[in-house]
């Protein structure tokens, strides 16, 4: 039995407002940070279709809407650039 059984990994979509600290105490690993971009307030709403239980963006079932699926937000890529790729909590997952 794992000692970590009370852990429940989730994916946070929250954006941290706190600014970076001084370089002297900035962890070396954060030097790899790329594609830094401001995060705007999402203009789209995500819901679940009550009948099919499929993902819905602005009232349209995602899988049935090519315009959505072409967008990186639904392309399910593993590059961390879309809203699906939130910040992992207790999990390393791409």
């Amino acid at each position: 039995m794992s000692v970590l059984t009370d852990r429940l990994p989730t994916r946070s979509r929250a954006i941290n407002p706190e600014p970076a600290g001084p370089l002297a105490t900035r962890p070396f690993g954060l030097d790899a940070l790329a594609n830094v971009a401001p995060v705007a307030i999402p203009s789209q709403t995500f819901t679940v279709d009550p009948a099919s239980q499929l993902s819905v963006i602005d009232g349209e079932v995602c899988l049935d809407t090519p315009a959505h699926m072409k967008n990186t937000i639904c392309n399910t890529e593993s590059d961390g650039r879309d809203s699906i790729g939130g910040v992992d909590e207790d999990q390393n997952d791409d």
Partner: protein, 333 residues
């Protein structure tokens, strides 16, 4: 309560629970297949609890929890639940008027109750158990891979900058660093990614390495291509990923629009190693990343227990059906 087809679910309450965020097109492929098969399921997110979903469970004298977890449209009878697909849920959500300490208390209660009740139900298939995902840290997965006979690049995890130069020398002077967790980082209302990057000699003893633990690996300099392998209950679905010269050559995630995919076959010893590693990690599903060098050696570099797979056309349908079969069956045997 009705099915997506308007039929009564009386007598066929959902036996499959899918836990994920409201936007999850990868999961949608499988859910669409379950709908086509008329397999009742309930999709929910932890963020729905307790404002939009309810848990009610009572312990019987036989040690079994009985009750329901449901929202206004659907739910599961705990006695009938057969499979849980743990995808990418977002955290429990509580009223904004709760103070920080109150929210922490509420989250602690919810976390232990939901995962504890569901996790103690007998005979339920988990894909995967969340604690197994949590346990699948980079150090543990690399150790499990090596124990299973898979090749793993020489790896150093250290908070001592003095460890890095000799390690780099042993690696022929070519090392990379990558994060131990997820690649997304947010701060100052911005969002960025932490991709794999080379560490040049002038940075080998950077004192800021000592500010926390860091992972360094030998760079596979004669990389031929990479392989993404989805594993579903022992079945493997490998796809070769070919990146052009440039940033994506070191980390294909930096320019995923430039990638080309092709069919891949895994050597027998790699297949056997994957099976042994998955057993050691107690995972039913994972998306694995291998680097293949010019001699055909497969180096395991990452295990993603809830990893993505649907963006690759070549294997999407096969993985969709394998996962749907598994959830429908509710058993790995």
């Amino acid at each position: 309560m009705t099915t997506p087809f308007g039929e009564s679910t009386r007598g066929q309450a959902p036996r499959v629970l899918v836990v994920t965020f409201a936007l999850d097109p990868t999961a949608d492929y499988v859910l669409r297949e379950l709908n086509a098969r008329r397999i009742p399921f309930w999709r929910t997110d932890l963020a729905d609890f307790p404002t939009r979903s309810t848990l009610s469970a009572e312990l019987g004298a036989d040690g079994r929890w009985r009750g329901t977890m449901h929202d206004t449209a659907r739910g599961v009878n705990l006695s009938e639940l057969r499979a849980v697909w743990w995808r990418k849920p977002t955290p429990f959500a509580f009223p904004d008027t709760m103070s920080g300490p109150e929210q922490a208390f509420a989250a602690s209660q919810a976390k232990r109750a939901v995962s504890g009740v569901l996790g103690s139900l007998p005979g339920v298939l988990w894909v995967n158990r969340p604690e197994r995902n949590a346990d699948c840290t980079k150090p543990r997965q690399l150790a499990a891979a090596a124990e299973a006979g898979l090749h793993v690049p020489e790896t150093l995890i250290t908070s001592n900058p003095a460890d890095v130069p000799p390690f780099a020398e042993r690696c022929g002077g070519r090392i990379i660093t990558k994060v131990l967790g997820g690649i997304v980082h947010t701060e100052a209302n911005t969002r960025g990614q932490l991709y794999t990057r080379r560490v040049p000699p002038e940075q080998w003893n950077d004192p800021r390495i000592g500010l926390t633990a860091h992972l360094f690996q030998r760079e596979i300099t004669d990389k031929a291509y990479e392989v993404r392998v989805a594993v579903v209950n022992g079945r493997t679905f490998p796809v070769a990923i070919h990146a052009p010269d440039g940033a994506a050559r070191l980390d294909w995630r930096t320019d995923s629009s430039s990638l080309r995919y092709s069919a891949a076959l895994l050597p027998r010893e790699v297949q056997q190693g994957i099976e042994a590693m998955m057993w050691r990690l107690d995972l039913v599903f994972a998306a694995l990343d291998f680097i293949v060098d010019s001699r055909g050696t497969h180096y395991l570099v990452d295990v993603n227990p809830g990893g993505q797979w649907a963006w690759i056309d070549q294997t999407r349908d096969a993985i969709t059906h394998a996962l749907a079969n598994l959830l429908e069956k509710g058993s790995t045997t």
